[in-house]
């Protein structure tokens, strides 16, 4: 991207304008995500920077909204903060319960999506797979079909089989979220299987390994980075999903996005911003993990960055 020495003045001007434009677009991409972080520490219940905040005066900042996340819904929020206070928070605080539900739903839907998705991706990446194109299109379609259509379909389907009477908590939401996460697992795992050297499996078989051993000792280590990124994608999809939960989730199945949705629709309070901040930090952590995995995968498969 370096400018050659013989560039004309006009080209130089354009080059720097171009860089400025790009910087502004990057700002457009990232600023909305970062702006909530300082605002969540606002001591006032406003959504803008107060004068004290701009002067970096510590009295303009506070942790009160994070505190509200803990105490909201507790039976006795004003008691001294000892073990029983924390037990109360763990059992009764709305946001903590929502987080528990989100993690449980996310875990099981990720498990289903990852296991089924990985096995299917192994089949799909075989050259002899019949009807590959059609099947792939069906398996990716949950990503494309508008979420409102999925949610209304599931609403009628679950009420026609009365799934809530089966006695398995979260079942409807878990199955729906697994469906929504599957395309991501398929995409990431098939991507790691592209250019997979099938002579490795043949060599393993030649040396006497049965198919299960071949999979466990030869294929799995190579595709593992893809599987983990797919699983993380599936987890994030579930962790972020609100429409299906609104349509098919029971009243006690409050998740973090559902709490946020209700909070935004009714009276948006800075407590929402502190949740948003926590979620941004989680997504930074996940992104870092996926990036590291991708590099590891490239190294394993011998694709080194040039």
């Amino acid at each position: 991207m370096a400018l050659p020495n013989h560039a004309s003045t006009l080209e130089r001007v354009w080059h720097y304008t171009y860089l400025v434009i790009c910087a502004l677009i990057f700002l457009f991409l990232i600023a909305p995500i970062l702006v909530v972080i300082p605002l969540s520490f606002n001591i006032e219940p406003y959504f803008t920077f107060t004068e004290k905040m701009l002067k970096l005066d510590p009295t303009g900042y506070s942790m009160r909204w994070y505190d509200l996340l803990l105490t909201f819904g507790m039976t006795d929020p004003d008691a001294t903060r000892n073990a029983s206070w924390w037990a109360d928070a763990w059992a009764n605080a709305n946001w903590i319960n929502a987080a528990k539900n989100s993690v449980i739903i996310g875990f099981f839907s990720t498990l289903i999506a990852t296991v089924l998705g990985t096995v299917a991706a192994l089949g799909l990446s075989r050259p002899e797979m019949p009807y590959r194109r059609v099947i792939m299109a069906i398996l990716i379609s949950p990503m494309i079909v508008p979420i409102i259509i999925v949610a209304t379909g599931l609403f009628f389907f679950y009420s026609s089989i009365s799934i809530q009477d089966w006695g398995i908590p979260y079942l409807g939401v878990v199955l729906a979220h697994a469906t929504l996460g599957i395309p991501f697992v398929i995409i990431t795992v098939t991507a790691t299987l592209v250019g997979f050297d099938h002579s490795l499996t043949r060599a393993a078989a030649n040396l006497g390994a049965d198919p299960v051993t071949t999979f466990r000792r030869v294929q799995m280590p190579l595709i593992l980075p893809g599987v983990i990124s797919g699983a993380l994608f599936a987890f994030v999809t579930s962790f972020d999903e609100v429409v299906v939960v609104l349509f098919v989730g029971g009243l006690d199945e409050q998740t973090i996005p559902r709490q946020m949705w209700n909070g935004i629709r009714e009276q948006i309070s800075p407590a929402i911003l502190s949740v948003a901040t926590i979620l941004v930090i989680i997504s930074i952590a996940l992104l870092t993990t996926v990036e590291l995995l991708r590099r590891r995968s490239e190294r394993l498969r011998g694709i080194s960055p040039s």
């Binding site: 605002l39 508008p146 979420i147």
Partner: protein, 432 residues
């Protein structure tokens, strides 16, 4: 080999255990195909049960509504046919027949049944979808069902003179069969007039076509905006050395990984009238305190927030097409005398067209079905078709109309999806 050419047919080649080679190969291949298929089968079954079947079942509602023909008791689940006498009269008389005394007698007999089943509300609601105001006529008539006496026509007209409305009788005739395409007509702002021919509804009641075209226009606008913002940064990322571009890529991927609700909330914080953008503009003196910009709860809010949210879906396909482009082509063009603009226009840009197609189709497909962001920042005029489906699901409870709208939306999206698969191939979908 000479043998084969002499006879005109090849000699049979066999495997070591004596099987013909062709058969052995075919059986080995079909074995491999079966094995691959069995790996995919569990997932395929799962998707069909939890995804394809529910959507199919929902779409069935768009042309099947038995609200006027069948009553299901909520407690016991017993299903009883209703309006049977009226249906018999409709079957015996062709469409357009004036309702006779006989027809009103059938209606009165059906009202007695409705009253016993406590179902007049349900039957009236089905008629009310197509002729508003008729639900109360049913509940009122059913309430007085046992007092109705011959002549029935006069008895009904005493209750409400609208019982003689030819539109009502046409709608009841349509609804007496559970299968109907009237919900599709309604979803396209069409209606049937008294003689059954199709016409447009009154101009000030044409909501759906307006909303479909608004959804289409806003999605095109958002696609164009993501392209205009995405192309420069994809180009920058593709031409920088990997060390730097990987770092900058994080700025594209972080929004991609951040919760949709978080990003929508951030835009609400930024755009509201007491928000960061307005405050900065006022603070810089560019704006009077009274004339704060209204950037949220309108189309502008929807467009800004959705452009931001969908931008990574444009940048990633563009980047993956631009990265492998060999820079020496542009250099060759320059050395042959092209200006940098000509070199870009004639050499570089044509090579990126597949990426533009992939990104634009993906962004457009996702934008058309968007629900969450318009619902939160769209206000009244920034709503898209998905929001209307949700409205009919949750508020007006006209599920068949919601299903018909969903079917139209889904049909459009599947065509685009098919196009995407044809042109780009789903295998080439990449996520960072």
């Amino acid at each position: 080999m000479t043998d084969a050419t002499a006879n005109g047919a090849p000699a049979k080649l066999t495997t070591a255990d004596g099987k013909p080679l062709k058969a052995a190969l075919a059986s080995a291949q079909s074995h491999a195909r079966r094995r691959a298929f069995f790996l995919v089968l569990p997932l395929l079954a799962f998707i069909v049960i939890t995804f394809v079947a529910p959507i199919g079942q929902m779409l069935h509602r768009s042309f099947h509504n038995d609200g006027f023909t069948m009553h299901e008791d909520i407690g016991s689940g017993v299903r009883t046919p209703i309006m049977t006498n009226l249906k018999a009269w409709f079957d015996a008389n062709p469409a357009g027949t004036e309702p006779t005394e006989e027809a009103f007698a059938a209606l009165a007999a059906d009202m007695v049944v409705l009253r016993e089943l406590k179902a007049p509300g349900q039957a009236g609601t089905r008629i009310n979808y197509e002729l508003s105001g008729s639900r109360s006529m049913f509940t009122k008539a059913a309430r007085k069902a046992n007092d109705l006496e011959a002549p029935f026509k006069d008895a009904f007209l005493d209750l409400d003179k609208d019982w003689n409305n030819p539109d009502l009788w046409r709608v009841m005739r349509d609804a007496s069969s559970a299968y109907t395409f009237n919900f599709y007509l309604a979803a396209l702002d069409l209606t049937r007039n008294a003689d059954g021919s199709i016409e447009q509804v009154n101009e000030n009641r044409q909501v759906y076509v307006t909303l479909f075209s608004r959804t289409l226009l806003l999605s095109i606008l958002i696609t164009v905006l993501t392209f205009m913002l995405g192309y420069p940064i994809a180009h920058l990322l593709a031409t920088l050395p990997l060390r730097y571009s990987n770092l900058l890529m994080i700025l594209v991927l972080l929004p991609f990984w951040t919760s949709l609700l978080v990003r929508t909330t951030s835009w609400m914080v930024l755009l509201q009238s007491q928000g960061v953008v307005n405050d900065s503009l006022v603070g810089m003196g560019l704006l009077d305190d009274e004339n704060r910009l209204q950037m949220m709860y309108n189309q502008m809010g929807t467009v800004i927030a959705m452009t931001h949210i969908l931008l990574p879906f444009m940048v990633l396909p563009l980047y993956s097409v631009m990265r492998p482009i060999n820079p020496s082509y542009v250099r060759a063009a320059r050395s042959l005398g092209a200006t940098s603009w000509t070199a870009f226009r004639r050499i570089y840009f044509p090579q990126t067209v597949p990426g533009i197609g992939a990104g634009a189709l993906l962004v457009f497909i996702l934008a058309v079905g968007y629900y969450i962001t318009p619902a939160l920042v769209g206000g009244a005029d920034g709503q898209l078709i998905s929001n209307l489906i949700a409205f009919h699901m949750q508020k007006s409870l006209n599920w068949s109309l919601a299903a018909a709208l969903a079917a139209l939306l889904l049909g459009g999206i599947l065509i685009l999806y098919w196009l995407y698969d044809r042109l780009i191939g789903i295998d080439n979908l990449k996520l960072g």
